[in-house]
Amino acid sequence: MNNLDSHILKIINEELSRKDSAYNIRKDGKSIERASTDNIKIESKTDKDGIDIYVKEGTINGYVHIPVILTKSGFSDKVYNDFHIEKNSIVVINAGCGIHNDAHKDSSHNGIHRFFIGENSYVKYIEKHYGEGDGDGKRILDPVTEVYLGKNATLEMDTAQIKGVSSTIRQTKAVLEDGAKLVIGEKIMTHDNQTAKTIFEVTLNGSNSSAKVTSRSVATDKSHQEFISNVIGNNECFAHVECDAIIKDEASVTSDPKITANHIDARLIHEATIGKIAGEQLIKLMTLGLSKKKAEETIINGFLK
């Protein structure tokens, strides 16, 4: 690992310093550092590129870090990571990805993550995406996340893409059994000509299962964002999807919500708001002595916090 690597790691995965975590650091398509713990085993896949992460039944306060860094311009990385989390466990997973591209070829990372979460387990999944570099080569991140939530299992997923990613298509699919709970918080900010598309497909099969998806996004300059979601309620269940976007300059945002209830006791809600920063918010912060520019930054930073 060189200075650039640690700089990127710091941005995407700040908690890596924990001594008791299992981790795998992937750089330019190769695993460069790895450690398992008594309860959490990380193994290479034999049939394709990627890893299996096994979390033993009853693991309490398990930590997993699987950061990815890309520094070679023109490199196209694809990886399959599967999380097998046995029942009655509590696990925090950090999976950041940072691309540094200083040249003119496109660099891309395509991570396919699958989660099999056992009965009564709780998983917190944190994903931070980031790009940088002076080259005109694109920095592309196309993550696919598939989640299977067993009985009374919970997944809280926080994802953030704040800077430097030229193009992204995010696909998230989840299937929920009885009493399972899914909470997703997504934050996306785009600049220049960047594009971001995010697609959610949540299927609530179990009785008393619930899903809450909150997407907050800021589109600036000439960037474009698209939010697509499809929530299907096949049982007595509850879902709340909220897409909230701020647009600036010549940016554009499309929101395409779909909710399907196949059960009389399915309660599904979708809310979508798109608009510029509220004038009264700017005025209020200016009455506290902030310049218009600082007020705008404060509103956006809070919104994406």
């Binding site: 907050r216 009264e280 200016m286 009455t287 506290l288």
Partner: protein, 236 residues
């Protein structure tokens, strides 16, 4: 000190404020008058949120008519909104920090909130959004503005929506502002107890100054305002 000279404000050919002349030289001035008489408009003009159609605003003798909101704020003018503004992702603690211009620790930020009778720990990390009630938002607004310790602080109907909270606390805040760096307070209010604590009363009607009186001659004015309304509504 704020002074308004021949100040008028028109919108769609309708005169909202008509040739206003007021010197806010007392420590504690109350502006009162019926709904729609132009009180909030006047406050917004002093803060720079609205620009007058004609006339001048002086602050300590300096013409500030064309200065921006933030310039005025940094010169020492503050404004507590009649209807507090909501934010997504900005917490009560953030707002207090932004308002005071420094990073306050949790203990100090809690002190600020307890001034307005809010049990601070429960509120400090809440977002300033619609999950808070109108009365809670209003108290947070008052507390966060008072922490600025400005030379001039304008409160627009501070009593509205806070019936559960005693007026003594509110009056204590105004007194504190006066004691610290001799701040002057301008309060838009219908509340008799606030009016009774003032040094000067300005009665607005139909965009005009109907009367300016010092407290000693106050009694008949109180009865005038009482007939109009006691206690505003947060949503008006």
């Amino acid at each position: 000190m704020i002074e308004l000279i021949n100040l008028s404000y028109e919108i769609d050919n309708k005169k909202i404020l008509d040739n206003i002349n007021i010197k806010f030289d007392s420590n504690f001035t109350v502006i009162t008058g019926p709904n729609g008489s132009g009180k909030s408009t006047l406050a917004k003009i002093i803060m720079g949120i609205l620009k007058p159609t004609s006339g001048k605003i002086l602050y300590n003798g300096e013409d500030i008519t064309n200065l921006s909101i933030d310039k005025r704020a940094n010169m020492g003018i503050s404004f507590s909104f009649q209807q507090p503004v909501k934010f997504k992702g900005i917490t009560v603690h953030d707002l207090i920090n932004l308002s005071s211009g420094e990073e306050m620790n949790v203990h100090d930020a809690c002190e600020v909130l307890s001034q307005v009778g809010l049990c601070a720990k429960e509120y400090i990390n809440r977002e300033v959004d619609s999950s808070l009630s109108g009365g809670e938002l209003k108290r947070i607004e008052i507390a966060s503005v008072s922490v600025r310790n400005s030379n001039v602080t304008i409160f627009d109907e501070p009593e509205a929506g806070i019936d559960l909270w005693s007026f003594n606390n509110l009056i204590k805040i105004f007194k504190n502002l006066r004691e610290k760096n001799n701040g002057k307070t301008i309060i838009i209010s219908h509340q008799e107890r606030i009016i009774n604590n003032s040094d000067k009363i300005v009665l607005l009607e139909n965009g005009k100054v109907k009367e300016i009186k010092s407290t000693k001659e106050l009694n008949n004015i109180v009865s005038v305002t009482n007939c109009c309304k006691v206690g505003g509504d947060i949503n008006e």
